[in-house]
């Protein structure tokens, strides 16, 4: 990070000096900034182990085994809360997480008012107001494989893979979308504080547990691959799986003040 931040500065400064001499122009130093940046590192796991696409076999609590070839979701409507209860809604915050694209696991959010934040909330999927054909912003690109053109709506989350216990075909295809399936999540921040201040990029480390799609504290919401292995638009299981991951997928592990 430090190289990224300062290399342009080192290049630009001598240039400015030389060029000021050449063209005789002046610059004005801006006031001390009132905003800064922070980062979110999303760490995909399956239970206690890191997620490895395609090659690794995982096991659910009920003993059913599975592999993962695709895991992606829309991470949107980011809000930060201060201890006094005031909320900062990050404008235009629509991000795509894709386990196959390492760059998508590290989000940098800029122009955030400086201050100490003690809470975070977001939506998995897209808010109803923007879930339509015309809206595209950030991660909300219709070409991102998370959009159903024929119904003109975004898919909140996709997971695909295989399981020897799965019914027909031994394959798993979960496309979680449709009306009423976007979920707002506010993972516990605990004692963590996110100190947004000039010259620093504090970083929230948040694990994303894929196992949470299939396991719930409510037994009727557990997913049995033998009978539920393909969930598509309109499936009654889509909101159930959305409830499952909203409840348990995200954990704030720690915050680096940096």
């Amino acid at each position: 990070m430090s190289l990224f931040r300062f290399t342009p500065l080192l290049v630009a400064l001598p240039l400015t000096t030389v060029l000021f001499t050449g063209c005789g122009k002046k610059t004005v130093e801006p006031d001390a900034p009132t905003t800064s940046s922070f980062a979110i590192e999303l760490e995909p796991v399956v239970g206690a182990t890191d997620l490895e696409l395609n090659t690794q076999t995982y096991t659910k609590a009920d003993g059913q085994a599975f592999t993962v070839s695709k895991f992606k979701f829309l991470f949107t409507n980011l809000k930060l809360t201060k201890a006094d209860g005031t909320v900062y809604a990050v404008p235009d915050s629509y991000y795509l997480f894709d386990a196959a694209t390492p760059a998508s696991t590290h989000l940098v959010i800029e122009k955030v008012p400086v201050g100490d934040y003690t809470g975070l909330s977001f939506v998995v999927g897209v808010d109803d107001a923007h879930n339509n054909a015309t809206f595209t912003s950030g991660g909300l690109n219709h070409s991102n494989d998370l959009y159903w053109d024929w119904s003109s709506e975004y898919v909140c989350l996709k997971m695909a893979g295989t399981s020897p216990q799965a019914g027909t075909g031994r394959a798993l295809t979960f496309d979680i979308g449709g009306a009423g399936v976007a979920r707002t999540v506010a993972p516990a921040f605990g004692p963590n504080v996110l100190p947004v201040k000039d010259g620093h990029v504090p970083e929230i480390h948040m694990s994303i547990d894929l196992l949470s799609l299939f396991e719930s504290t409510t037994p009727t919401k557990n997913i049995n691959f033998a009978t539920t292995y393909s969930v598509e638009s309109g499936s009654a299981w889509a909101p159930v799986i959305a409830d499952n991951y909203a409840a348990r997928m995200f954990t704030v592990e720690h915050v680096h003040a940096n």
Binding site: R5, F6, P8, L9, V11, A12, L13, L15, T16, L19, F20, G22, C23, K25, T27, E29, P30, A32, P33, L53, N54, T55, S69, T136, N141, H142, S143, D145, Y147, W148, D149, W150, A160, G161, T162, A166, G167, T168, G169, R170, A171, L172, T173, D175, Y229, S230, E232, S233, S235
Partner: protein, 369 residues
Amino acid sequence: MPLRTKATFAAGVGLLLSLAGCKHDADTVDPDGPVVAPTAYNLVVPTNFPPPQAVPADNPTTVEGIALGRQLFYEKGLSINSTVACASCHRQELAFTDGLARAQGVNGAQSPRSAMSLANLAWEPKLTWDGAASSLETQARIPIQNPVEMHQLLADGVARLQATTTYPALFRKAFGSSTITEDNTLKALAQFERTLVSSNSRYDRFRRGDRTALSTYEQQGLVLFTTHPNGTLRGGNCGDCHSGDLQTNHTFSNNGLDRTFADLGLGSQTSRPTDNGKFRVPSLRNIALTAPYMHDGRFATLDDVVSHYNEHVILNSPNIDPLLLNTTNDPRQQSFTLDLTTTEKAQIVAFLRTLTDSTFIKDPRFAKP
């Protein structure tokens, strides 16, 4: 130092530009007269299409750049023995394919792959069957230098262009200099290719609101095309990958053609065994014009293609797309094949034929100049 990195960087760049301005005033004299800036070209996005990929900042689309790119697209001098142009394998009347199973290059050389249709490339994040290029500028060099295609170093092609009486002036109009470069050659080709927009099929008219554009039979095919079957709803499950108005989700997939792979596809680019056998999910636009089908042209007809997905998917093919494994019309959801009826298969093929854009293949803007 309280200055912010970005602001400082921007200021540096801005002043660098002003310096260039000072210098230019002082010592540049072009014997051909002052350089006239090219005319910006605004790509019209069809109302039923999503936004296209961002155009590279260093290659804005211009009228003069497109005209040059079109000339280059039909230029056989870019091949080693001046017999093959881009247009040789990408013929407009076939939606820019060649009608062959495998593309034919210089001296009768045969590519292991089928020439891809060129339409709506401005929307594609990855190009070629194996995703070897992420921009049209990068892609354009591949067939020019590939030994089984045009087989000539681009540098040699540039030298040939420079020696002509026509190209230096065209490059000057498009890029401000009559000294031809490899980069500007690729940029011009990319600009022309971005204009190859196909959006006037009957299906497009249907999508834009003309409910009479498709017959009832074709509409039944459309419903089957887009439906993921679940035992109650019947469907062909085509639209999970060939989604939307561009008929692609822009991913790479193993569609169960083979048990072992003569061509590794995406795996040849990423070196990941789990990508072996995956190829780009192509748009189905103008699909009735682009036979034969698949990356190696193994299927002669659309009926063959639909039969593959319905009955002949190799279920134990490594890295096969899970969507091909658990999708069936069997009411008990226990069959391992799609189980469409003969009529349903014919309806899907009838729908596929509505994706033909007869204006695209006759558009004079894309023809040999």
